[in-house]
């Protein structure tokens, strides 16, 4: 590669993946229109899914995936040590996400269910978000991470400012888009207690909010359960719906 391609003072950016579906990584490659612009501002030093290079210092490290094996824990400490700003990316990394559903059952049962007698070969821990182990500077939520939000955060960090991320409910953006509320179609939705910033993409496409962005600050969980049960879910189903992405944050006992 020609040396004039990289300006020395461009921030070094790296992407790391842990236990996840890699959808967030793919979503970044889906920034086809923006990638050339982004690459003008940053030096991409590590992105295993798309490149071979490795580096040992990162201005910004983006972490995807939850931590679920003993080796994950060492690796995340190592990355934290080498990064200036650490951003957790996507539901798995920020709230545990779908992965954390397995935490609801005893880990032994889980392993046995999948591998039977061979279970001891495959160590596993409860799936936890990155912030449970190391300091996380910023979080980009969503399953998959929201592309507009990723761009917002990236731009803010490149400008040297803290990104301003919403903490209000998905309903806010849903109303700004003047969507018909799914409750009016008899469909229950977790939008009222889920952190927005996704532009209410699921309700806008007629699908209920699954809670993939985690709960708003001080969520009124009891009131939300009332809403779900008043709109036709059994208490058990309402709890399960709540736990879909948020098992790490809501241990099942706190909402029964």
């Amino acid at each position: 590669m020609k040396s004039d391609q990289i300006k020395p003072n461009k921030p070094k950016i790296a992407f790391f993946d842990f236990t996840s579906c890699e959808g967030c990584q793919l979503n970044k490659l889906n920034l086809e229109n923006e990638l050339p612009d982004i690459l003008r501002h940053v030096e991409l030093v590590e992105f295993r899914e798309a490149m071979d290079d490795k580096a040992d210092y990162y201005d910004i490290a983006f972490i995807e995936g939850s931590l679920s094996t003993p080796s994950c824990i060492n690796r995340i400490h190592d990355i934290r040590r080498r990064s200036n700003i650490l951003v957790a990316l996507g539901a798995c990394a920020t709230i545990g996400g779908i992965n954390s559903m397995k935490n609801l059952q005893p880990i032994e049962t889980v392993r046995e269910t999948v591998y039977g007698e061979e279970k001891y070969r495959f160590p596993t821990l409860p799936a936890i978000p990155v912030s449970a182990v190391v300091k996380v500077d910023y979080e980009i939520r969503g399953c998959p991470m929201s592309i507009p939000e990723f761009l917002r955060v990236l731009k803010a960090l490149l400008m040297g400012k803290a990104p301003n991320l919403p903490d209000s409910a998905v309903c806010v953006e849903c109303k700004l888009r003047e969507n018909e509320c799914l409750y009016d179609r008899g469909i229950v939705c977790l939008g009222p207690v889920t952190v927005g910033g996704c532009e209410a993409i699921c309700p806008s496409f007629g699908q209920f909010c699954t809670g993939c962005r985690g709960l708003v600050p001080n969520p009124n969980k009891d009131a939300m359960l009332d809403i779900l049960t008043q709109h036709g879910l059994s208490l058990e189903d309402a709890q399960k719906r709540f736990l879909l992405f948020n098992s790490y944050n809501i241990e099942s006992k706190s909402i029964t």
Binding site: M159, G160, K161, A162, N164
Partner: protein
């Protein structure tokens, strides 16, 4: 498309209505006064006076970083330029700390109600400033100093968390040395080289000997300070009508539209930030 149809709303007078467009001003001098606070001297185009009252604020814009309400800390008696003092707490304030002379910022304002100088004339003035509250008060203090003969006794109480957090140290020194000013300072936590008062600001109040009917108190500080200062003033029997406070609320527009600063029916950016205490007593949300 026909535009001749007359509708209810007339063509607005645009000059008056350009509420949200900042004027571009230039930073002429800066000084880092503590790790967290930075002082700026700012010139409007043509060195026009800002024409503010002590206690008023401006909306400072740093494009790309946003806008924030910042009190004018210089006295209106200072002509041609004005001063701000900014504590680094978030996005915009952090970015402001990186600015240097020659850099440009957007300014809207001055906005709000400041201290009622007319009511203060001829009276004893009691300044009570906690932490960064000294910033807007400094504008009043310097006005009183510059127009010293218009006022009676001049008492300044200033409290900070630590000696390191005291602002405008040079001026504090001159206040202490000025025989016409009764200046008392205290810190919550002392340091080995601190030989002054230690304790919260309310501890300074009981010792004061006030001419109750003739004293006007101007109080600015963090939300938690007000309750205790007011209690202390009450036990001193200073009449409520003699107390002015400045309140801080979130603000987006500064001109009474965005709703963020509303306290009950009152808009801090319009009716405040400086309030007459009897008015505040009608606002249950003002001091919790």
């Amino acid at each position: 498309m026909s535009n001749h149809i007359r509708t209810g709303i007339e063509e607005p007078d645009r000059k008056m209505l350009e509420l949200y467009y900042p004027e571009i001003a230039e930073i002429t001098r800066t000084k880092q006064i503590t790790e967290l606070e930075k002082w700026f001297e700012i010139a409007l185009p043509g060195n026009r006076d800002l024409n503010h009252q002590p206690g008023q604020f401006v909306q400072v814009s740093l494009f790309g970083f946003g806008e924030a309400p910042i009190s004018v800390t210089s006295s209106p008696t200072k002509r041609g330029v004005f001063e701000l003092c900014v504590r680094k707490v978030g996005t915009l304030t952090t970015a402001m700390h990186k600015l240097k002379p020659g850099d440009r910022i957007g300014i809207r304002g001055p906005f709000g109600h400041g201290f009622d100088l007319q009511k203060m004339e001829g009276k004893d003035i009691l300044i009570i400033g906690g932490g960064i509250g000294i910033v807007p008060l400094r504008s009043l203090i310097n006005t009183v100093i510059d127009r010293r003969s218009d006022f009676g006794r001049f008492i300044i109480l200033y409290g900070a968390k630590t000696p390191g957090e005291l602002l405008f140290k040079d001026e504090l020194k001159s206040w202490r040395e000025d025989p016409t000013i009764e200046y008392h300072v205290t810190v919550d936590q002392g340091t080995p080289d601190w030989d002054g008062n230690v304790g919260v600001i309310t501890t300074l109040i009981p010792r004061l000997d006030l001419n109750l009917g003739n004293t006007i108190a101007a109080v600015v500080g963090p939300p938690i300070m007000y309750k205790f200062v007011l209690m202390a003033l009450k036990s001193k029997r200073l009449p409520d009508e003699n107390i002015y406070l400045s309140l801080e609320r979130r603000m987006k527009c500064g001109v009474g539209k965005c709703g963020h600063c509303q306290i009950n029916h009152s808009y801090v950016c319009q009716d405040g930030p400086v309030y007459h205490y009897p008015v505040i007593k009608q606002l249950p949300e003002a001091i919790q």
